[in-house]
């Protein structure tokens, strides 16, 4: 666990006068999941492209699997697998042919290749659709095929660039399960995502990327301590009511303009009922009531003082 699968120091990249990465330092221990969290346009894909030898950095050093990406790109490529933001499958070929294409491009022997293709189809639940062209696949199936193609060469370090963006919740869960299984096999995963819950669910460590800089890094728990947790929000009709409620709930935060009160609470029925019971005790009633779980916007608000700007996709 103490060897670095990925070590990045002082990474910079600019396109013209637009700085995309402004001095990034990262260290990912082998066998762990590292998540780079950030909104669109933060520089996530550029980071992945540099780490996977697709583009050259302007400054800084990057070592992947112990090799320098600038001087030993070939050795890096031999150790990694990449699943990009867009499912990179060949739509005219069938699922099986797509996997066979990857086998043909890898050093695998024909016999091993056959077995690998059959295993991957089975493992990703694609055997039934194996003979159909990938153009007929659903979004979730394409992602699975895409990831299966990445696994053909049995890479020890896998880069997943927003692997669940655009997937329905069920396909997302399936993808998460697959990712967990990969790590159980000792693979290192570098994952980018826009979803806080995804990073929270999967990652051993999370780094938050904002406009080309890392604004926070730590375990999910460390990070969550810096941001508002799950809370309940009440909206009242008068300042008096808000005053009274603020006195009842000592650790709450009030917003006088919106007449709202934010009370930390988990979203369980028990604690919510307790909160409502206390309001009843004081004969208070709120106009509006909602349970809020933190998302990327909250993280950015807490870490940078502003919400995540959504730059053009």
């Amino acid at each position: 666990m103490n060897t670095s699968a990925i070590a990045v120091s002082g990474l910079r990249k600019a396109y013209g006068d637009k700085t995309v990465l402004d001095g990034i330092d990262l260290d990912v221990p082998a066998g762990t999941i590292f998540s780079l969290l950030g909104p669109n346009g933060a520089g996530k894909t550029t980071t992945v492209n540099v780490l996977t030898t697709l583009i050259k950095a302007d400054a800084g050093t990057v070592h992947v699997a112990g090799h320098d990406v600038a001087s030993s790109a070939k050795a890096v490529r031999a150790a990694i697998g990449v699943t990009g933001q867009f499912a990179a499958v060949d739509e005219l070929l069938t699922g099986e042919e797509n996997l066979q294409l990857m086998v043909d491009l890898s050093p695998l022997s024909a016999k091993d290749g056959k077995r690998v293709v059959a295993d991957l189809l089975e493992r990703f639940d694609l055997t039934e659709s194996a003979q159909k062209p990938a153009s007929t696949y659903s979004g979730g199936m394409r992602r699975k095929l895409d990831l299966a193609m990445t696994l053909v060469g049995n890479p020890r370090i896998i880069f997943l660039d927003e692997p669940t963006t655009g997937l329905d919740p069920r396909s997302r869960r399936t993808m998460w399960t697959i990712i967990r299984e990969l790590v159980a096999d000792g693979v290192t995963i570098f994952l980018t995502t826009q979803y806080l819950d995804e990073a929270d669910q999967l990652a051993d460590r999370i780094a938050v990327l904002d406009q080309g800089r890392l604004v926070a890094e730590g375990t999910p728990d460390e990070l969550k301590r810096q941001i508002p947790g799950t809370h309940v929000r009440f909206r009242f009709s008068t300042v008096d009511e808000l005053d009274t409620a603020a006195r009842i709930f000592a650790d709450s935060t009030r917003d006088d303009d919106a007449l709202t009160l934010r009370v930390p609470s988990d979203a369980g029925t028990k604690s919510v009922r307790a909160l409502l019971d206390r309001l009843d005790e004081y004969e208070l009633s709120a106009d509006e009531f909602s349970v809020q779980t933190p998302d990327l916007d909250d993280v950015f608000l807490a870490l940078t003082g502003r919400t995540a700007e959504v730059v053009a996709k």
Binding site: I55, R77, F86, L93, D104
Partner: protein, 249 residues
């Protein structure tokens, strides 16, 4: 390296087999034009010989040109849909990816020109060519097809979208074949057009094919056709290579 090129080429052959409409379209258009010109308009053109004999080399050229849109489109979709990054990370040389498309297109061209020749024979084309003449004609078609395919690959790489990729090859498909001596002699055109027609590469290609297939003296046209093919092919190749390098975002 070599075997990766073969894998890429096999992929492009599969694409053609999977998507036969690209072959069908490249055959359909020249055949429709052939039937129109031979049966409907042909008598209106006085070219000194049976019109089908005059037009068949031009129709072969059309068959070469109509496949070019799919070269640009398939190259562009490889670039824009992300599969190219997968190939790059797997150390597939860029020349292998592009060569796969260009050679794949050559295979398609050989199919379409063969079919167009067969239809021409059916509607009355009477060539006077020896086996050697046929062979030289095939070499010119193959060379010109390769040249235009490299140019189309570059156009496909330079285009931002798939629609743009197809659009940028339209002059090659619809303009230049008609502004050559493919269907009417250049000297029957207005002065300015005549000058352009006489000096653009499609004219020596079609003239050399016509001379070869009808048994007329070939003169320097075959050499000109091959020289143009080398020049266009080289320019297209160098442009494609540069555009491919820039394409990594």
């Amino acid at each position: 390296m070599k075997s990766k090129s073969m894998v890429m080429l096999r992929r492009n052959f599969k694409h053609i087999a999977r998507n036969p409409t690209t072959v069908f379209n490249a055959v359909l258009m020249p055949v429709v034009v052939m039937l129109m010109f031979v049966y409907v308009f042909g008598d209106a053109f006085s070219v000194g010989v049976d019109y089908v004999d005059y037009a068949t080399p031009g129709l072969l050229l059309l068959a070469v040109c109509y496949g070019l849109g799919s070269v640009a489109v398939s190259v562009n979709s490889d670039m824009t849909k992300g599969i190219i990054n997968r190939f790059k990370v797997m150390d597939v040389p860029r020349s292998a990816v592009l060569t796969g498309h260009v050679i794949g297109n050559l295979a398609r061209t050989l199919i379409t020109t063969t079919v167009v020749t067969a239809v021409a024979l059916l509607v009355g084309f009477r060539p006077h060519a020896t086996a050697t003449h046929w062979l030289v004609a095939a070499v010119i078609i193959a060379a010109f097809s390769l040249a235009l395919a490299w140019l189309s690959a570059a156009l496909g790489l330079a285009a931002k979208t798939i629609a743009g990729a197809n659009g940028s090859t339209l002059p090659l498909q619809f303009l230049l074949p008609f502004l050559s001596s493919a269907f009417v002699p250049a000297n029957s055109m207005p002065a300015g057009v005549h000058w352009f027609t006489a000096h653009q590469p499609f004219t020596p290609v079609v003239e050399s094919l016509r001379a070869l297939l009808t048994g007329a003296p070939v003169g320097s046209t075959a050499v000109q056709a091959l020289a143009w093919s080398v020049a266009i092919g080289l320019a297209g190749y160098l442009w494609a290579r540069a555009a491919f390098r820039r394409g990594t975002r």
